[in-house]
């Protein structure tokens, strides 16, 4: 199982921010230098979103209790 996740990156928030940036830019009521920095921010976020979309497939894990009743996550063989 690939553990390394893009820490701190929230896909939903990123996408919402991109939407917001696009709308803001499309409104036209914005200063050019601000537009440039928004454009940069937007393209960076989109690249991250794209990367998240292409994240590799993980194997399924199972949540079970051990004999002491503690919860544990295990990679499972359920997936063929």
């Amino acid at each position: 199982m690939k553990k390394a996740r893009t820490t701190g990156f929230k896909f939903e928030q990123a996408l919402a921010r991109v939407e917001q940036i696009v709308e803001r830019m499309e409104s036209g009521e914005i200063e050019l230098d601000q537009a440039l920095s928004l454009y940069r921010e937007g393209t960076e976020l989109m690249a991250k979103c794209q990367a998240a979309l292409q994240e590799v497939q993980r194997s399924i894990t199972t949540l079970t209790r051990d004999s002491q009743g503690r919860l544990k996550l295990d990679a499972s063989e359920t997936e063929e």
């Binding site: 499309e26 050019l32 537009a35 979309l53 590799v56």
Partner: protein
């Protein structure tokens, strides 16, 4: 007297053995219909209850080996049909029905139990729309409470992987039918909440009879879903199957596959949306730049700008004029000065004594070298020197004529 017929006197055990033999051999395995009462679930897994009708009753036991196959736990008051053998429990001197199979008598009974629980939970507010939580639009990890071997888990994995390849799926394997299934489902839901590994849950199973799905109609399952901090999507059976779990869940999916579809956005759609956003962003930037260009051009052409240009032109003109004037003036001044210098030069030339001498005049000086300008200052015989343009001559005064 009685003592004499010793062969006729039985022990309790002998009698009981006779009863047992007669009852157990004489009554074939039978199906019996009746109403359940005095139901006890023993920790051993055995179930004890009484089956009765209007006039009579019979004690029943269902041992764990049979009870564990039960789909629906009978409830007091429920009409059931059981199949069993009459046995004698010697120690208590009681006969009982050793139940091998138990069915709720007709769909009506289950429907009633369903409606009773539905009403009870509805009254308690477990189905209130207001308490249903929105599902995360992009869940990071989904917990699945279902059987590890059923069709449901395969369907969910397939659809989830297709829609969002990177999704983390965590299975909590449970039994989805039979006695104890509801408890396992409830525990699994609680475990996900305790562990916190997922931000969304799918609870369900594939299709089956109403009895097969019964674990999802039990109160313990409903309360676990209600108590979950993590949003729950129910996915029980087929499209037509409605269970209590469906009413409590934050969202009901008609099937397990549909649950995976509801829980996850399609990565291809999102990618297309991203492409669209990218294009819109670029267009917006270009449009914005064009807009500014336009504004710049129109500003340049504006009256105010024109005025400024005019002003600049006028100032330029004034400047040119001043420059011209200055050049002209300075040129005239220089010429004037030059003339003055020339004039002075000629005046100076005119005053040069040498020039006078060249015209034939001469300067006469006395013995001391002083220029003589009056004859009166001389006496006869005084030596004087006359200077000419070239050379000098010494002479003496002959006569003074003042």
């Amino acid at each position: 007297m009685i003592e004499d017929n010793k062969q006729l006197i039985l022990t309790v055990s002998q009698l009981t053995a006779d009863i047992k033999r007669i009852l157990e051999r004489g009554i074939p395995r039978s199906w019996v219909r009746g109403e359940v009462s005095n139901l006890t679930l023993h920790s051993s897994g055995h179930i004890y209850f009484t089956l009765k009708d209007a006039a009579t009753q019979v004690r029943c036991v269902m041992f764990r080996s049979s009870a564990q196959h039960l789909l629906v736990l009978p409830q007091a008051g429920m009409q059931v049909i059981v199949q069993g053998d009459v046995t004698v429990f010697e120690r208590a001197g009681q006969y009982q029905l050793n139940v091998g199979q138990l069915q709720v008598a007709g769909q009506g009974e289950l429907a009633q139990a369903f409606e009773r629980l539905k009403k009870k939970l509805a009254d308690e507010g477990l189905f209130d729309e207001a308490r249903k939580r929105p599902l995360p639009r992009f869940p990071k990890a989904i917990g699945i409470v279902t059987s590890p071997t059923g069709a449901a888990i395969r369907d969910i994995i397939n659809v989830a992987r297709r829609r969002w390849p990177g999704i983390e799926l965590v299975l909590s394997p449970v039994q989805v039918q039979g006695l104890g299934a509801a408890r396992q489902i409830a525990d699994a839901i609680a475990a996900f909440n305790e562990h916190g590994a997922v931000d969304l849950m799918i609870v369900g199973r594939g299709g089956g009879s109403i009895e097969d799905l019964w674990a999802f109609n039990e109160e313990v399952t409903a309360r676990a879903i209600f108590g979950s901090r993590i949003p729950v999507v129910s996915a029980v059976g087929h499209e037509v199957d409605y269970t209590i779990a469906d009413f409590v869940a934050d969202l009901r999916a008609p099937t397990p596959s549909a649950a995976a579809e509801i829980c996850l956005p399609d990565a291809r759609e999102v990618a297309a949306q991203l492409d669209d956003s990218r294009a819109r962003l670029a267009n917006a930037l270009v449009g914005l730049a064009e807009g500014y260009g336009q504004r710049l051009r129109s500003l340049r052409k504006s009256y105010g700008m024109g005025r400024l240009a005019d002003l600049c032109g006028r100032k330029q003109q004034q400047l040119d004029w001043l420059a011209d004037r200055m050049t002209r003036q300075s040129r005239a001044y220089l010429a004037d000065r030059r003339h003055a210098v020339e004039r002075l030069g000629s005046a100076l030339t005119a005053l040069d004594p040498d020039n006078v001498l060249r015209r034939g005049y001469s300067i006469c000086r006395d013995a001391a070298g002083k220029t003589i300008t009056r004859a009166k200052s001389l006496k006869t015989g005084d030596p004087v020197t006359a200077q000419f343009a070239q050379g000098r001559a010494a002479m003496n005064v002959n006569k003074v004529m003042p």
